[in-house]
C-alpha cells in the first residue's frame, strides 16, 4: 500500500490470467518476450518452469497461471513472458497475455478486502477500477521475493 500513496499516479502494465486482470508497476518490467524452451530445475515447485538463457544470463521462469491456478496452461507461440527486474535480480513470469498499459488515479484505487483466496491479500496493493474493468494491483516485488515463491534464498523480508 505504501507506494500507491506516494501521491504520484502510476503507470501499470496490465496482464491477464484467465478472466482476471492484474496490474504491476511498469517500472519493474524489463521486457516482454515469447516463451522459449526452458531448462527444468530438478525438484522445483511446479510453477517454477525452469531457467532460460536471456542474453547470457540465467533467468528463472515462473508460471503465474500455475501458481494462481488460473487460465489454461498451454505453451505456444502466443504465450507471453514478462521479464521483471526486481531488487537487482531478473525473473520471468508466464501470463496468459499482456493487454495494455494504464494509468490509475488515486481515487480509482480501493483497498483489497480481506478474503481467503489462493492469493494472499498482502501481495495486493488494492483493486483498481477502470471503466467496467477491475484490475488487481499486485505488489509483484513482494510476491516474487516471498518465501511462498521459493525463488530466492533468504531474501530480506
Amino acid at each position: 500500500m505504501e507506494q500507491i500513496h506516494d501521491g504520484v499516479n502510476q503507470e501499470l502494465l496490465v496482464f491477464t490470467l484467465g478472466a482476471e486482470e492484474y496490474g504491476i508497476d511498469i517500472l519493474k518490467v524489463q521486457e516482454i518476450r515469447g516463451y522459449d524452451a526452458v531448462t527444468a530445475i530438478a525438484n522445483a515447485p511446479s510453477f517454477i518452469k525452469g531457467v532460460i538463457n536471456l542474453r547470457g544470463n540465467i533467468v528463472p521462469i515462473v508460471d503465474l497461471r500455475i501458481k494462481f491456478q488460473l487460465g489454461n496452461v498451454t505453451y505456444d507461440q502466443f504465450t507471453v513472458v514478462i521479464i521483471l527486474s526486481l531488487v537487482g535480480r531478473t525473473v520471468g513470469v508466464v501470463v496468459d497475455g499482456v493487454s495494455d498499459v494504464v494509468t490509475l488515479e488515486q481515487e480509482q484505487i480501493r483497498p483489497a478486502p480481506e478474503f481467503g483466496a489462493v492469493l494472499d491479500t498482502s501481495f495486493m496493493r488494492g483493486l483498481g477500477t477502470l471503466d467496467e474493468r477491475m484490475i488487481i494491483l499486485l505488489d509483484i516485488e513482494k510476491l516474487m521475493t516471498s518465501s511462498e515463491m521459493a525463488l530466492f534464498e533468504e531474501m530480506a523480508a
Binding site: I41, V59, R89, A150, F152
Partner: protein
Amino acid sequence: MTIDMSQFIGVFFDETAEHLASMEALLLQLDPTAPDDEALNAIFRAAHSIKGGAATFGFNDLAEVTHTLENLLDRLRKHELPLQQVMIEVFLQAGDVLRGMLDAHRGYGSADPAAIAGVSARLSELVAHPAGMVADSGKPHGAQATASGVTGHLHIAQGPECEIERLRQSIRVYGDILSDSPGNTSGEYRFHLCLQRPVQDLFDELEFVIAPERLQWLPEAVAIAPRDGLADPDDGYGFFTEVSKTQPVVADDGEAFGFFVPLPPSVHQEQAAGDGYGFFTPIASPAPAAELAPAVSPPPAPEPAVRALAGKAGAAKTPQESSIRVGVEKVDQLLNLVGELVITQSMLAQNASHLDPAQHDLLISGVQQLERNTRELQEAVMSIRMMPISAVFSRFPRLIHDLAGKLDKQVELRLLGEQTELDKGFIEKLADPLTHLVRNSLDHGIEAPEIRRAKGKPEVGTLTLKAFHQGGSIVIEVRDDGAGLNRERILAKARERGMAVSESMPDAEVWQLIFEAGFSTAATVTDVSGRGVGMDVVRRNIQSMGGRIDIESMLDVGSTISIRLPLTLAILDGMSVQVGDEIYIVPLSFIVESLQPSADVVKTVTGQGRVINVRGDYLPVIALHDVFNIPSRLSTYQQGLMIILEADGQQVALFVDDLLGQHQVVVKNLETNYRKVAGVAGATIMGDGRVAFILDVSALVRLAQKPSQAVAFAQPA
C-alpha cells in the same frame, strides 16, 4: 627538472605500498638477537626508497617519518646500535602509520595525527638515546666513529640550480655549516662544514636533489679523522665512515640507486688519501657494478667487508620481474569476452559436425583450428587472473605476531604451499574468512603456554596454513595443535539454543554446528573473538565462492579446518550427459571412467541401496533421474551408462542415460537470479543457446552416503 610528476604518483603509491609490505615481512622475520645484515639492509633500502619517492612528490609528512625511521635503520645496519625487540615493534607501528598516511594521500580515510606524532616521538627517542642502549649491550664500537666532528669542504659542481635554503636545511641535519658561498657557474656551491655524521649519510640525503656526480667532499682536518678507524682496526663496520672521511666521494654506495654511474674518483685525492696514511689501497678503475661500489677495501678487516659485499651483491640481484599493472575490470572484461567466444566456438563446432567432411574439409579444419586457438586464448586469459595464495597468506605473520602478543600466547606460524595459484577473485574474498579462522584458532584453539605445558605439549603452539591443489579444487587448511573442539560443550550449547541435537550425532555433524549463526562456545568473550558472529559468515562466504568448509578436530590434539574451492570461477571442462530429456554437465575433473553395466553387476543391499561391482570394488550407485525426479527413458541399467566419479576420496557410480560429449563450459551462477539447487553447482549455456546445469559432484557423493530413498528400477529379470 620540469617533468610532470602527476603521472607517476599512482606508481609511487603502488610502489610504496609494496615497499611497506616487504618491510613488514622482513621485520617480522628479523631475530633481534642475531639480526641478518641482508635483511637490515633490505629494510633500510625500502625505507630509503619510500623517503626518496615521498620527497620527490612532495609528501613531506611521509618523508619526515621515513627519514627518522631511516636514520635509525641506517645506524642499525652499520651496527652502530644493537637491534632490540622494542625497535622492531616501533618499526612495525611506523609501517602502519606510513600506510595510513599513504592511504590518506590516496584519498581513502585520513591519517591519525596522534599516531603519527607518537611513532615519530618514539623513533626520535630511539635515535636520540642510542648511547645508553649501546652501553647496555656492551658493544660500544663504531659509535665513536661518528661522534667526532669532521670538517671539510663540500663542493657542488655546476649543474641545474637547486634551492639553497633547502640544501642548507638538509645539510644541517648532518652537521654544522661553517660557511657557504655560491660558485662561479650556475648551480655551483661550496660549503665549509663540520659534520657530526658520516659524510656518506649526507650524500645519501643529497642524492635526492643533486646528481651524485656533482658532489665532492674534500676533508680538511684529516689529521684526526682516521684515528677513529685506527683505534678500532678490527671493526670492519666502521669502514664506511673511514671511506667517506678520507676518500673523494663516490656517491654510489651500492644501494638502491642504479640511476647514476659513479664518476671516477679524482686521482689526486685518491693519492692523497693513499699516501697520507697508507691505509687504503687505491684501485685502478671505479667499479661500474653497483655491488663493487665501495671502491676500496680496508686491509685491516677484509673478512667482514667481504661479507658485507656479498650481502649487498645478493640483495642487488633480486629478480626484477617486468610487469604491467592492469585494472582488474579490464581482465574481467577480457575473461567475459573469452567466455562468449568459447560459447560461439562450441556452437560452430556443433554445427560443423553435421557437415559432410568431404565437401567442407576446409571449414571443418578451420573450426578445429579455432577450437585450439580458443582454448589457448582462454588458458592465457585465465592465467592472468591466477595469483599465488601468498597474497593472502602474507598478512598472517603480522596478524599472528600482534595477536599472540595480545593474548600472551606463543605461536609459530608455518606457511605451506604459498605459491599455489588461484583465481584473483578468490584471493580477495578469502582474506576475511581466513583471517577469522586464524583468529579463532589462536584465540580458542592454541592454549596459553602454562596450560600447554600442563598438557605435555610444547609451549610454542603451531599454526599451519597450507594450500594445495587436489583434483579440480584448491584446498586451504588452517591447522592448529591447540585444544580442539569440545564435543560436549558444543552439544550443550546447541541444546541451550534449542537446536535439535542428539548424543549419537557423528563428530562431523557436531562440528558443523559451530557454523550456525550466533554460536560461540568461548567461555569468555575477548576482543579477538568469541562473540559468535563470524563462523556462519565464514561458511556463507566460502559457499558463495562455490566452496565447502570442513572441520576435523580432536580434543587436546588440535583442529584442522579445510576450505575447498573450485580452481576458478569462470570456465570448466565438462562432460555432457543426458537423462530423460535433460542435459547435465559433469565436471571432467571428477570423472574417473565410464562404463556400460552388464546385467548382473548392479546389486542391492538390504533391498534398497544399490551398489555396482567395478573390478572387485562395490561402489554406491546414484541414479541421476532418481535424484532429480525426472523420467528416465530407460528401463534397465544395461541400456544406460555408469560414470564413476570421485570426490572427497570416495567413488560413486552415477547412472545416466547417455554420454553426449566433452565441452568447455562457461560457469554461470544460478544464484544470481535464483537460489541454490541441491546437487547443482551452477549453470551454463550450451552451443544451441539452451541452459544446462552443472552437477555438484561433491553434493551427489554426500547424497550417496545417506540411505537411498527409492528403488531406481525393478531388478531386471
